[in-house]
């Protein structure tokens, strides 16, 4: 974990973790193959496009107020910000963060730059941004081409540091380097942790005890007490403001002071990141890289445990935190009260939801956590389709195996051809789907409900209620799906639906 301190570039998850992006079979077999480190060998002989880590990197860093982002690459890399612009602006508004228009630039690499290097243009872009917009932070996100031709973005940033007012944060996120988009978390945290101050400045942010007027030891104890009552929640683009609100409320209810990092946070507020007694991740696949670094450097312990989605997971999540902060009793009381209240709220919807056959497609932790939550609602989970798999996810998949033995898992970065095949075969009542797959579910004639959405609530108790309400609503009228299913032309030859959905995954050597 010395990466952040020692290396310009972050490692990729393909080598840092045991990962895989192709698998079809039971959850038990998945765990076995992953345990043997054999998932990566399960390649596909047919592939459809997905997103790259640059996309998620931009999604994360552009939330920082008073920042401008330069995408170092050809004009296509980063052009998708046109789609990301609104979610980021509305995410800012939902959190009370003031944000004008999002500014970004492209170094627009051309043929000549690819031959003679693009560093000059990057330098020009940084100077222009500093002069024109005077932001607090300039992010430089490098895409594939500059990486292949060997541009050194850190070097460019270093030489400009005295010259520009902004902090320059290089981000290494070329798509070709990794199979999993989640590598972006490491790329972003690497850039933030190496270039921002993560601890308060003495004399500026606090008055260090001088030993003249007071008892220093008492001061220190007092400081430690205060710090211990503060918890950082680590957020992410896939987690909306309503989710942050609900979790914050739960933690406040047990008497904790809550702050939310790292998205939608101004650069200078990072100086207080380490002023907390505990860091709490909201999704097991996001934050280990950063939280381990903070623990190592600043001694802050952390909790990473799946995701507070569903009744049991939420209780566990809350009690886990309370166990560390010594608020067990209050936490149990809060959980009891909130659960009782939720059950009353859920009651009218349950008859409608009970027995619904649901297919889930999306983020690795989220599909598993949502599957367990659906089970609590009395639904029947047909299969889960995580975008990728890695060993950070083992605990929740082990739980999935215990609670839904033999459950089908299709590891796939979207791969609509497998999704459509499974839908045609299994005919689920609902598909809970991450953005980009709902359209395929609908064209295949299935009702789809977003598995995540930044302006909806999914987490904890109110999230569970909203999920139930949405499922009940979505399954009341499937006219659109029926009409579309009868009329839309899917791209596949009809013979495909008679074949094994995993025909194009080479997994015969998965258990060697």
């Amino acid at each position: 974990m010395s990466y952040i301190s020692d290396s310009k570039t972050p490692p990729v998850r393909d080598s840092r973790l045991k990962i895989g992006i192709g698998f079809g079979g039971s959850v038990g077999d998945l765990l076995r193959a992953s345990g043997k480190g054999r998932l990566l060998a399960c390649d596909r002989s047919f592939c459809q496009v997905s997103a790259c880590q640059l996309h998620l990197t931009l999604q994360m860093v552009m939330t920082m107020p008073d920042s401008v982002t330069i995408v170092h690459g050809a004009s296509g890399c980063g052009a998708q910000i046109h789609t990301q612009d609104f979610p980021i602006r509305s995410g800012s508004a939902a959190r009370g963060v003031k944000r004008g228009e999002l500014i970004w630039m492209s170094t627009n690499l051309g043929e000549r730059d690819v031959i003679s290097g693009g560093e000059g243009k990057l330098r020009e872009a940084i100077l222009l941004v500093d002069r024109e917009y005077r932001p607090r932070v300039i992010f430089v996100a490098s895409s594939c081409a500059p990486n292949i031709i060997g541009d050194d973005i850190d070097e460019v940033a270093d030489t400009l540091r005295g010259e520009v007012a902004a902090d320059i944060i290089p981000l290494h996120c070329p798509g070709f380097k990794t199979r999993v988009v989640a590598t972006a978390y490491d790329a972003v945290y690497h850039g933030l942790a190496r270039n921002l101050e993560l601890a308060p400045r003495p004399h500026e942010d606090f008055a260090p005890p001088n030993g003249l007027s007071r008892d220093i030891d008492e001061d220190k104890r007092e400081y430690a007490r205060r710090k211990a009552r503060t918890v950082n929640l680590i957020n992410a683009s896939s987690i909306g403001a309503p989710d942050e609100r609900e979790l914050t409320e739960l933690l406040r209810a047990i008497g904790l002071n809550v702050r939310v990092y790292t998205e939608y946070v101004a650069a200078d507020d990072f100086r207080f990141l380490t002023e907390a007694g505990l860091n709490v991740s909201m999704c097991a696949v996001h934050d280990d890289y950063l939280l381990e670094h903070i623990k190592e450097k600043h001694g802050t312990p952390y909790i990473i445990s799946s995701m507070p989605l569903g009744i049991a997971e939420t209780r566990e999540w809350l009690l886990n935190i309370a166990a560390r902060t010594g608020d067990m009793e209050r936490a149990e009381a809060v959980a009891d009260a909130r659960e009782a209240e939720l059950r009353r709220g859920l009651a009218p919807f349950l008859p409608q939801i009970k027995g619904l056959r649901v297919l889930l497609s999306g983020g690795v932790i989220r599909v598993a956590a949502a599957a367990l939550a659906l089970k609590e609602l009395g639904c029947q989970v047909v299969a889960v389709r995580p975008y990728h798999y890695d060993d950070l996810s083992d605990p929740i998949y082990e739980r999935l195996e215990r609670e839904c033995p033999g459950l089908s898992v299709n590891v796939a970065p979207n791969q609509a051809f497998e999704l459509v095949n499974i839908i045609k075969r299994e005919k689920p009542d609902v598909v809970l789907s991450h953005g980009g797959s709902g359209v395929w579910a609908t064209k295949a004639g299935a009702v789809s409900v977003p598995l995540m959405s930044p302006n909806q609530n999914y987490f904890a108790y109110t999230g569970m209620y909203e999920l139930a309400r949405r499922l009940a609503r979505a399954t009341q009228n499937d006219a659109l799906q029926r009409r579309v299913g009868e009329n839309a032309r899917l791209p596949f030859k009809t013979g495909w639906y008679g074949r094994d959905p995993y025909s194009y995954i080479e997994q015969d050597r998965a258990f060697e």
Binding site: D14, S45, Q48, V49, A74, G76, A79, Q80, T83, L109
Partner: protein
Amino acid sequence: MSIIERQRFSCMLGGAADAVAAMPGAVPIIHGAAGCGGNLFMASYGGSGYCGGGRFGGNGVPTSALTENDIVFGGIERLETRLRSAIELLDAEIFVVLTACMTEIIGDDVDGAVGRFQGCGKTVFAVSAPGFAGNSYAGYEAALGGLFKRYIKPSPADCRHVNLLGAVPFHDPFFRGDLEEIRRLLESIGLTATTFFTADQTLDDLKKAGSASLNIVLSPAYGVALAAELAESHGIPYIVSELPVGAEASAEFLRKVAERLGIEGAEAVIAREADRYYNYVDRALDLIADTDFMQQYGIVVANANAALPYARYMRRELGWLPRYAFVTDSLNERQREAVEAAFAEAGMEGLALVFETGTTAVRKRVALDNPPLLPERYGDRLSPAYILGSSMEKELAAQLGAKLLTASFPITNRLVVNRGYAGYNGGLNLLEDIITQFVSVR
């Protein structure tokens, strides 16, 4: 290619993939990283008024999905495997392999690879589309050029058939509605047309493009070079026309085409269309003529295809005073001169034609020319002003207190389905949308 603020296009790969997937029975296969296709689609989708991927596009596009190892050792083997599967799995006729930056840099022999698929019963070919070689407009031309080279055979000319070039999928957000309307106009004078990208197109329409007796390029900048090539390779002559928006421009367009092809009877069609058009306009006048909606200063911020048609519509249909036309594409010298010539020919006195890719720079230019009113009682200013631009012109609109109709890429506040602004029907649509902005607050 210089650095650019918030480019209103993506790269050659994106444009080529969009164009291929917008054609009937054709599949793009991206030879590059798995992420390129998804990211590039997000760019086009998000800016086009949410035009989806359709049957073979979006995140359904096949890819060779290269990773680091392949960049080091070459990605041809992966391409062949995954292309073979695509042909086996997908119900398509034309498979177009598009090379991304990385495969061009490492020099994969893609032509050799696709060569091994000749005789598989499908049309398989490659188009070089590295992002660093151009933007999405160049990708559009490259894809269409590839199609003509590899699929559309030159055939004996059908004097009643024409092709429509220059309308670029996604980056001309109204491309479907526009092309349908232009075809309707052409049909009204007895012609048939290959549009390439409308919902009704079939493989036969693509094939028929080889027998066209005229290529009509609806753009001063895009498709012109291609049309010149096709004049050589397929013996199809071409004309360049602006996209006609509104009754006046449409009549001119019909006359131009009819004259070129020696068609009689266009005047009767024009008279009939004008009659219908102004019957509708008439019924809008009760609202328009009694209000301040009557006349505005106009500002157009658009790509090379729409800038002139919009400015001209403001001036010659609405009787407004267009003051600026900002062309936000990065153009080469030939394209820029062609745009300038088209504006000059249209006679747009009082209008500044500005080539500017950056949104901030557009705003700066307007602010410099029109400093905020000093605290004096009397002072002329650029008001009332109306902007036909993209969603990124919101700040410019706020700066001027102007109305804004989003009508150029990126459009993020509208869903565009088959709406168009071209032709007679498009002119009425545009009138409706422009004036609706005034009353939508009521």
